[in-house]
């Protein structure tokens, strides 16, 4: 086992044991924090497929995070009011079942990522960054003025959605759900990186010209990666909305995109567990710094700057040393 693999094992165990301890110690809020780490980590794992594996610096992933959130909000609000989503040409009812909501969230955010990706991937580099950012803003403004689903007020769901056989209102049980989904996504991401697809994508990122001469079409590979990436981030959005029992346009704002990206750099870009470690550090900082200063963003900014400038591998890079720069 490499040092990174050992560290990853330690992180997954710690993220599981901490809430179990909190459960035993009757500190439900600590469980909520751990759940937040798992869900935001999941969003980061999604972004990491585009960014770490595909080299696509997307500053618009909040769009998919928010679409996932709204998939949950819209379905659950219709179920809550017993008003069907549509009656014609066929009847679609709302639902409070998590698995169905997840599937809808995955599909909706995948379709959005496919459309945005198809346009944005016509360009590259800094254009790509600005275009993804702009499309994200477009959806943000749309959500604000979309009064049917609350506009800026957002949508409140009074009771958390259900999962067969579990009591999702119990913090620890909801944590387990988020944790299992996170682990499945990480497993998927690691398989993907080692698959023929992942290798070809990596080749297209590092030496695009050479990849094209052997018949790899970067556009298609990148579009698939971007779509998968958006879908996973969308799933995280649905879970995040369920954690808060609330969804609003804030989930779509460009600051959210920036924060998801910050998780990656804190933990270590293109590292399998980078987003999880980054999300954990971010939330710990928010809790600790937020407590003793109203101006904690300054400290966060300075820390982020130092990491970008001087510790490029992020925290995993510090612990496990500079390794291969791809997952």
């Amino acid at each position: 086992m490499t040092r990174e693999a050992t560290f990853n094992g330690f992180v997954s165990l710690a993220l599981l044991l901490f809430p179990l301890w909190a459960w035993w110690a009757d500190e439900p809020f600590m469980i909520t924090l751990a759940t937040k780490v798992a869900i935001l980590g999941l969003a980061g794992v999604g972004l990491n497929i585009a960014l770490g594996l595909g080299g696509l610096v997307s500053l618009g992933h909040a769009a998919f995070f928010g679409i996932g959130g709204y998939a949950m909000g819209i379905l659950a609000s219709h179920a809550q009011s017993y008003a069907p989503l549509m009656e014609w040409p066929f009847l679609i009812e709302g639902t409070k079942s998590m698995p169905i909501i997840w599937i809808v969230a995955l599909i909706a955010s995948a379709v959005a990522a496919l459309l945005i990706g198809a346009l944005s991937l016509r360009t590259s580099g800094v254009y790509f960054i600005m275009i993804t950012l702009a499309f994200g803003q477009m959806l943000y403004y749309f959500a604000i003025s979309w009064s049917a689903y609350g506009g800026e007020d957002g949508l409140s769901i009074y009771v958390r959605n259900g999962f067969p056989g579990m009591n999702t209102l119990d913090p620890i049980q909801f944590f387990i759900i988020a944790y299992v989904l996170l682990m499945i996504a990480i497993l998927f991401a690691s398989r993907l990186a080692r698959s023929a697809f992942g290798l070809a994508l990596n080749a297209a990122r590092q030496t695009p010209v050479r990849a094209e001469t052997v018949g790899i079409v970067p556009y298609r590979l990148q579009l698939v990666a971007f779509t998968l990436s958006g879908a996973i981030t969308g799933l995280a959005g649905a879970l995040f909305a369920d954690l808060n029992r609330f969804v609003s346009p804030t989930m779509l704002s460009w600051q959210t995109s920036g924060e998801i990206m910050v998780f990656l750099i804190l933990g270590g870009t293109a590292r399998l567990f980078g987003p999880v470690v980054g999300a954990a550090v971010f939330i710990i900082l928010e809790e600790i710094l937020g407590d003793f200063s109203d101006y904690w963003h300054i400290h966060l900014g300075v820390l982020l700057l130092l990491i970008v400038l001087f510790a490029r591998g992020g925290i995993i890079g510090l612990v496990a040393g500079e390794e291969k720069r791809h997952a």
Binding site: P28, F29, G151, E152, G154, S156, N244, D294
Partner: protein
């Protein structure tokens, strides 16, 4: 005045000590203290803490957290305060969208919520709850007062505008509810918009005889400055939010003379208010804003209930809150059946006192006004 206030504080303290000496009341205040909009949260916090300090009551413990104006942060803070800190009462939220996220979660977990500002219609009507009290206003109230004022001032053809989001849509609906004249034009602007050149051109071309606008925060500052510069010379009417003490200084001359509606002003003639304004200036070195007055009233309502009942006895405590047995800085104050204020709403005018821009009271726009949603509340 000072002595009277001290005596009032002392008597509250004695009452509190005798009646509810059992349990401390833990209050969780979630409000916006950083980022854009922090000035509102700071005002609410300062007003609230001033009342707590004046009461000298040791049985109240206030935990203050910053929601950064982000709904999901606010929900998580609410969960934290309820689950870990085990607070009895939550308060502090400035924005309607944050209130819509936090209030249902709070009441569902069996805690009290006292709103010092936001009053979304959903929570006043169908979504009302025995544990939710609004101490400020229902969102439509000040707009309804503006409509009533416009009618009584003989304005017959208003141009109305607000941002395109739920509170903005409610604002225009509220104005139209009480306004009797014609609508010369109706516009929804972008939330956060800062340039109103295009809207001003349409106002100029519309043939209106007055303009009603609801543009909170920085939007209102921009609009007023640009309105003053446009050469349009129609009377402006709006709710107090764009003429609040804390932002008037940034608007400057552009706001002078504008009529706006509010349930409070610093020159409102009652003893509680005079004491509040004086103590606030002494404590913080600036004039109190509308938001500060609401924070102050919220704390005093809570203190009055604590003097009557033990928070552990939820039914008794709820009854004590409902009685609203405190000296509100806005004069008479009672709750309607949906636990939102029934109150007088006034017209104010922006003036300059020395170097400071502020408001003076002109008259009443609506008396004993309840909100439009009280009938939807089944409680």
């Amino acid at each position: 005045m000072k002595i009277k206030m001290l005596m009032a504080a002392a008597s509250t303290a004695i009452l509190a000590a005798t009646a509810a000496q059992a349990e401390k009341v833990k209050v969780g205040m979630i409000t916006t203290l950083s980022g854009g909009g922090a000035s509102l949260g700071i005002a609410i916090r300062d007003g609230f803490m001033l009342a707590v300090k004046q009461s000298g009551n040791d049985n109240i413990e206030v935990i203050i957290e910053d929601d950064q104006r982000k709904p999901e942060i606010a929900v998580q803070l609410a969960d934290k305060m309820i689950q870990s800190e085990k607070v009895d009462v939550l308060t502090g939220i400035v924005w309607s969208n944050l209130a819509m996220a936090v209030v249902p979660a709070t009441t569902a977990q069996g805690k009290f919520y006292l709103s010092p500002n936001a009053g979304p219609s959903a929570l006043a009507g169908k979504g009302c709850h025995p544990n939710y009290f609004n101490v400020a206003w229902q969102n439509d109230n000040l707009h309804e007062a503006a409509g009533a004022y416009a009618s009584s001032a003989g304005l017959k053809n208003s141009f109305i505008l607000a941002p395109n989001y739920p509170a903005g849509q409610d604002a225009l609906a509220g104005y139209k509810r009480t306004y009797g004249g014609e609508i010369a034009g109706e516009l929804f602007t972008k939330l956060g918009q800062t340039d109103y050149a295009s809207e001003l051109a349409q106002i100029r071309a519309s043939g209106a005889d007055s303009v009603f606008f609801f543009l909170p925060g920085g939007m209102g500052i921009s609009f007023l400055k640009q309105y003053a510069d446009s050469g349009i010379d129609l009377p402006l009417v709006g709710p107090a939010f764009s003429f609040d003490q804390d932002i008037l200084q940034a608007v400057g001359d552009a706001a002078l003379g504008v009529h706006n509606t509010s349930q409070w002003n610093k020159d409102l003639d009652n003893a509680a208010n005079a004491g509040f304004v004086e103590a606030f200036v002494a404590e913080y070195g600036r004039l109190p804003s509308l938001y500060a007055s609401q924070g102050y009233d919220t704390a005093n309502l809570l203190l009055s209930a604590m003097a009557k009942a033990d928070v552990a006895d939820q039914d008794a405590f709820r009854d004590a809150l409902r009685a609203a047995d405190f000296a509100s800085v806005r004069g008479d104050f009672t709750f309607g059946s949906n636990q939102h204020p029934v109150q007088d709403i006034y017209v104010r005018q922006v003036i300059k006192e020395g170097d400071v821009y502020t408001n003076k009271l002109v008259g009443a726009a609506l008396e004993n006004h309840a909100d439009a949603y009280v009938g939807d509340c089944k409680m």
